[in-house]
Amino acid sequence: MDYLLTILVDGVVYASWLFIVALGLTLVFGVLRILNIAHGSFYALGAYAAASAVALSNGLGLPPALSLLAMLIASIAVAIAVAPFLERVVLRLFYGRDEVLILLVTYAVFLMLEDITKLIWGVTPYYVFEPRGLFGNVEVGSLFYVGYDLMLIVLAVVCGLAVWFGLNRTIIGKVVLAVIHNREISAAMGVNVARVYVLAFFIGVLLAALAGAYTAPLISVQPGISVSVIILSFAVVIIGGLGSIPGAAIGALIVGIARAAAVYELPEAEIFIVYLVMATVLVFRPEGLFQRAQVRKI
């Protein structure tokens, strides 16, 4: 029982981290039809910005609890700095092109951001361990968990609900749906399409940066952290069904728990358990767990 509990806790903590990253990815795909490799770079930017922001807030002698706020502000700053420029100046040039072509465009952006990040922050790692102490330790079974890690679960739930609600229960969300489906006619019906695009991309970048920012206290922030999250979050999004938020949540949970179980029971499989899960899901549900409704063709 204790054993299963630890697997569950480990899996869910991992899943929440994955989910926050995947959420932005699935949103941007859902709205802009862009499978964004540069999402990993935004994650890294968020982490770096958070590291700098926390350092600043500590340097100013602010109470440690404010570092949580500093991290949020850092993510917003990243989104403001990056999203409008990228969407309006770069991505816009490629709308209407093949999905795969745009995938490569984001790959190019990813490559460039890698070096740009390095030019700004250098290769020396940054640490922001302070926020991690804020929530103390929690004893689960025979083990200690860091309270901060468990707080990530809360953050993931909040982000997920907020985005889901925004997209499905608000009028803005429905307008976004209209733009996704037909840009031209939406404009003819009075929708300011450009604004919808910028907004969606902004939120996508914000979520990536947020994931990076709140992961920063767990890791050493340094070059290379962008690469590892990309494929993993891609897998999650594919498992869940592209563009589906509940899908991303369940995908993240499946991957997280499967991975945790593998670490305990079958360590050899850890490296490809994610892909195994993905392949299995796709065999039974070729479009992922939550497939998008298909438009009637004939």
Partner: protein, 407 residues
């Protein structure tokens, strides 16, 4: 090829995971050392300008991108850029791929950092050399340190990266422990993916087993992340952690580095370097430039360049003061021995192509100023922790370190 310069291709990680921990510091070290050597400011016997009067002209290449790309870049360096020698390679995979190509192209190549013993144990090369000891030494020394310090070890666990480095290190470590602690038992072995970044599950899994010793050969960001994530969960209190290559994370971690961790540097580097005039000079020029203590990677770069320097100068002498050919330099480097900031390097293995060197292991602790440093150091001489010529590492360990010369 110019007659008064000596052009070396330097290949090391400038981007990706290994840039911060190895590639960039190594090249920083290389840069400042070459600058001093070109200015003729080195201490004897390294006081000739450049390489015997030839100005050293480095060309740097990023090592990121995998072995395939490196073979290609290597060829470009040799065939297009016409370098006189290539000094490089952190990744074992790259070294394994490059060595045969070096021979094929007759290109003098000094592997300065990579760890796998397989390069010269499985192959035999004329033009490729490795001026640093291979990784077997690190783990043998780690085990010997624990024995020497009289630690009680019944159960062992390990978290290592899931690629050849991690697997080889774990194999050498457990084999050595088997020899020194025949009663000990492995209770957990975990191999998280390279660059995984998140170790929560692994930490839970290993802590559940509560081993006496937890071994890790992780490096760079992976090691830092492991430490940062494990520390608040009490892993360093519950078990004795032993890090085979961990010294390089100490400067960046600073006070966050846990104490009482058994730690190696893959040689007597940085905090554990011998107190020789050469080392003092080296640490000074490095710290003047970068304001941080040089850790393992710059040391290994330095020992490669210094060894190459002496070999070029010796070959030059034999060549009547003319710039020597690659063959002449290779002949001079083969089986040679020179003093490095980390002690005496001897090209004793692999038919004179593979170095052995003394090493040291210590424990992290706070010094008087409250900084975390390495203390409680035990030094091992080169022949105590390296296999003898002609014997494969793992066989040597399993034979009970046959022929080891420890004082």
């Amino acid at each position: 090829q110019s007659e008064d310069t000596y052009k070396i291709g330097v290949v090391t990680f400038l981007s990706g995971q290994a840039a911060e921990s190895f590639g960039v510091p190594a090249w920083n070290g290389g840069k400042v050392l070459i600058e001093k050597l070109n200015a003729g400011e080195g201490p004897a016997p390294y006081d000739k300008k450049g390489f015997g009067g030839l100005t050293i002209e480095p060309v740097v290449i990023d090592e990121a991108g995998g072995a395939t790309k490196q073979v290609q870049e290597f060829r470009n360096l040799v065939q297009r850029e016409n370098v006189d020698a290539v000094v490089g390679y952190v990744s074992s995979g790259d070294c394994l791929a490059i060595a045969p190509v070096a021979d094929e192209l007759k290109a003098l190549t000094v592997l300065y950092d990579c760890g796998t013993p397989r390069v010269f144990e499985d192959g035999e090369y004329e033009y490729a050399f490795r001026t640093a000891a291979h990784a077997t030494m690190d783990n043998v020394a780690l085990a010997r340190y624990m024995k020497e310090k009289g630690m009680d070890v019944e159960t062992i666990g390990g978290i290592n990266q899931d690629y050849a480095w991690g697997h080889d290190s774990w194999r050498d470590f457990t084999a050595s422990m088997k020899q020194l602690y025949p009663e000990s038992e492995v209770v957990a072995e975990l191999f998280p993916a390279f660059g995984a970044g998140q170790y929560g599950t692994e930490i839970s899994a290993i802590m559940r087993e509560n081993p006496d010793v937890i071994h890790s050969s992780n490096w760079g960001g992976d090691l830092q992340a492991l430490i940062l994530q494990a520390m608040p969960r009490g892993m360093f209190q519950r078990s004795q952690v032993a890090l085979s290559a961990g010294d390089h994370v100490m400067p960046p971690l600073g006070e966050n580095m846990p104490q009482d961790v058994v730690i190696g540097a893959r040689g007597a580097y940085g905090y554990m370097a011998p107190d020789t005039p050469l080392n003092q000079w080296w640490q000074k020029i490095y710290m003047d430039e970068y304001d941080v203590i040089p850790v393992q990677a710059p040391y290994r770069m330095a020992q490669a360049i210094l060894g190459l320097k002496l070999a070029v100068e010796k070959a030059m002498e034999e060549n009547g003061g003319q710039k020597p050919t690659k063959e002449q330099v290779a002949a001079a480097l083969k089986g040679s021995s020179w003093e490095s900031p980390a002690g005496q390097i001897e090209m004793a293995l692999g038919n004179g192509h593979q170095a052995i060197q003394p090493t040291a292991i210590g424990r992290t602790m706070k010094n008087d100023e409250g900084k975390v440093v390495i203390g409680d150091i035990v030094r091992f001489n080169a022949r105590c922790v390296n296999p003898p010529e002609g014997k494969k590492s793992i066989e040597w360990i399993e034979s009970g370190f046959e022929g080891a010369q420890c004082d």
